[in-house]
Symmetry: C2
Subunit: 402 residues, 2 copies
């Protein structure tokens, strides 16, 4: 049985924190042999605020199904071993800052001179060669400079970042696509190339619903909380329940009529509110009437009634509800795996699950392998790819190279 | 000159609003021939709150470099023509709700029986076959049910959605990768397959910084505004300037020492605050001292000083600043194009810009073609692919099929 469309593709992943490692995860999920290369002390996320065996929980979530080796690229001997690994690789994935990558001699010039078939995939905060090259890019700062913080939150409160690390993951998902494009080109030309995706760039298209009215009219819609950036017809947004919040909207007049039936509010059902524009003019009043109805009801009861009536709605679920939803395990998004001295850890699966019968995600897919321990596959990988033996590897360890 | 790695790939895009059309945009940017198929009245986004020529501004942003035809798939004659187009296509991209796709006879069974090489790529809100199949999925409701709203905002205020439409774009970016995987499989097997990415699934990995502490400890970190989900050492977050906000952080002790130098605050520089854990215990006090310094300064002056000192920071830019940044045009993220009766419109470019010299994004790349007018390429496409002539197409138009 095929391990997936990327079976036979060997990846050297020098990812750190979320951006590079999540790209490595997407590759591993499709059957690539992902060899994670960490500095001898471990990558940042492995060490993040923890001394637990195997590393931080988020490291364990992002790095299952990879093999792991250590290598000090700053040392000449480490660099030399790295280049020998590049000879055997299809793809190098990294998300260093451009100047750090250069210092580590991890450049397209060096790699392609060594192996013209290799592809270098770089996750960046800002595009190489742009005026922002070299600025440190973390999720918080990218959310700020990209304009996303300014459009998130309530107009009467300060701007706020999205809780989720969208900058990293949007970057990784686009980088994964870029890698597949480069593999396709290589099938045709025999040559590798460098691909790069900047988080700032990957965030930009998601500004759409604010950028388009701004570009059209020159007027910034401003922060609107849970409203639509371009106000349509109410109700739209989040409404309070006795035990939480519910989101709902009535995009069509028919749905609005249905909504009025469900909540039995004769004033809302007034013929004067039958059209969207008419409702738009009485937004505040309608929102208050809707909240008057939702406020006395349980969140899930509201959702059940509205769903039955075909009205788009959803509970604002707590983190616990969202994470503990059995959907995540049944759809392969969370995969339980035993980690030495830690017990069961839930590692992350890929949202890309091919529906072909030969897909590795079918029911009899092999269970995940836990994230590698620090340097776990040093001997295995250096023996398999470079023909080194245990004595060689011990000597390298003694010299602090691995 | 090659138009890109997807030259020669013909796509039938039945996308609507953001999710499907953004995936089509990513494909067109790599040289695919993307034929957008709309119902004779135009897709939802084209008609959204506008009667301007060519459609809404966001439609124009998302649909450049595509050809456009109209076709009523609900009519038997429309379905028949669609199947003849499927004969000539490599890929069908759509983001209908599963039950709508079924009603339109737009299923893997129908398509693959017709053309075993075709790939069907479906953007969904929730995974087909899961308990949520068929629920309407819009950015607002997916942000709510995914747990993302609950972790966004300040703890003392209600949950709030991210202003940006991350659900749509994360779904599209992963779907693009899935399509490339299916093309790769097809190169090997000669057969197409169905790929699908649900927005809910594509959002899940971005919960990482909240999901990992919750899965490890069972404790939900709660909404934390602009703080880190797992509080590290301050300063971290957004601080007020005279004219806006600035984000900053000091991940290392050396950066903290540098920060104290820049702001010249002797109390912050106290030896008792030299370590991260010591600073963590005095978060509120440190945040207040830092704000005391930032509050008297202009946002961009703070950023300039901190950048020079190597401290990660960024301005919280307004939407206008983010969109008007010349970076967007120079990096190909916004591409000016003339649209009939509208003047210059800025269409969206792809964040995936291959750095190979043969890349279509090099300086002499052809200018974008504007989004198609409704049915603009009916005759061109039906003649080229199916051999119909003007009389045939006029007859189809008369019958309301195109």
């Amino acid at each position: 049985m095929s391990r997936g469309p990327l079976e036979g593709i060997r990846v050297l992943e020098l990812g750190q924190v979320y951006n590079g490692p999540y790209c490595g995860l997407l590759l591993a999920a499709q059957g690539a042999d992902v060899i994670k290369i960490e500095p001898p002390g471990g990558e940042i996320l492995r060490r993040h605020a923890t001394s637990a065996p195997g590393g931080s929980y988020s490291f364990l979530m992002l790095n299952a199904d990879k093999r792991g080796i250590t290598l000090d690229l700053r040392k000449d001997r480490g660099h030399e071993i790295f280049l020998r690994l590049v000879d055997e690789a299809d793809l190098v994935v990294e998300n260093f800052r451009e100047d750090v990558a250069k210092k580590l001699r991890l450049t397209w010039e060096v790699l392609s001179a060594r192996n013209p078939r290799v592809i270098l995939a770089s996750g960046r905060g800002y595009r190489t060669g742009s005026e922002y090259e070299g600025l440190p890019a973390l999720d918080l700062t990218v959310q700020a400079i990209s304009g996303h913080m300014e459009i998130t939150g309530f107009p009467e409160h300060p701007p706020v970042k999205a809780g989720a690390t969208f900058a990293d993951m949007l970057g990784s998902a686009h980088l994964f696509g870029a890698i597949l494009l480069a593999l396709r080109e290589r099938d045709r030309t025999g040559r590798g190339q460098r691909v790069e995706v900047a988080m700032l760039d990957a965030m930009f298209p998601s500004l759409m619903s604010y950028a388009s009215p701004y570009l059209e009219t020159g007027v910034d819609p401003g922060r609107v909380g849970n409203q639509h950036s371009v106000p349509g017809s109410p109700p739209y947004g989040a409404y309070p329940a006795t035990d939480g919040w519910v989101t709902l909207m009535c995009p069509t007049n028919a749905q609005y009529a249905k909504f009025c039936e469900v909540c039995g509010d004769r004033e809302l059902a007034s013929p004067s509110l039958r059209t969207g524009p008419a409702r738009g003019e009485r937004r505040a009043w309608i929102d208050e009437r809707v909240a008057r109805w939702t406020r006395g009801r349980r969140r899930d009861d509201i959702v059940r009634e509205l769903e039955a009536a075909g009205i788009p709605c959803a509970p604002v679920r707590t983190l616990a509800e969202a994470v503990d939803d059995p959907y995540n395990v049944s759809q392969g998004l969370l995969r339980p795996v035993d980690v030495d001295l830690r017990g069961t850890v839930r590692t992350l699966g890929s949202p890309i699950q091919l529906r072909d019968p030969s897909s590795p995600h079918r029911a009899d897919a092999p269970p995940p392998r836990p994230a590698p321990k620090l340097g776990e596959h040093n001997l295995e990988v250096l023996e398999e790819l470079l023909g080194l033996d245990a004595t060689d590897v011990a000597a390298l360890a003694g010299d602090g190279v691995v």
